[in-house]
Symmetry: C2
Amino acid sequence: MKYIAHINVMPLKELLDPQGKAVNNSLHNLGLEQVNGVRIGKHITLNIEAGSKDEAQSIADNACKKLLANPVMEQYDISIIEG
Amino acid sequence: MKYIAHINVMPLKELLDPQGKAVNNSLHNLGLEQVNGVRIGKHITLNIEAGSKDEAQSIADNACKKLLANPVMEQYDISIIEG
């Protein structure tokens, strides 16, 4: 069966996010003062061929651990939907 | 009231995504052959101070149009939750 994994890889809350900070300042300069706490990470979608949703979840988790996320600086969350 | 906007900015479906293609190949080399169609974009979270969910949505939309997304190459979706 086909599944689609939506993965968000974000900088850890404890760490500074210079890119987010820069965007935050730019938004203020553009007049959007109501915005703060901008954080920027990656959104990754994968098509996965798997026998079950649990298997797809474990493949996506494996992809994050092996390649997509750096656990020293980033956290990730995965959501799987049937494709 | 405080809201949190989760914004995904992804390359348009019609366009090649070289970064996604490279990650796709790397995942295959790592033995994750069940994965394909990798696409990589940005995930952005904003804290927004607004009077209503609709107002927060419109501020986030404004931020995307003015700064966060390039409509020539990217599409975006926004989800707002109460923070």
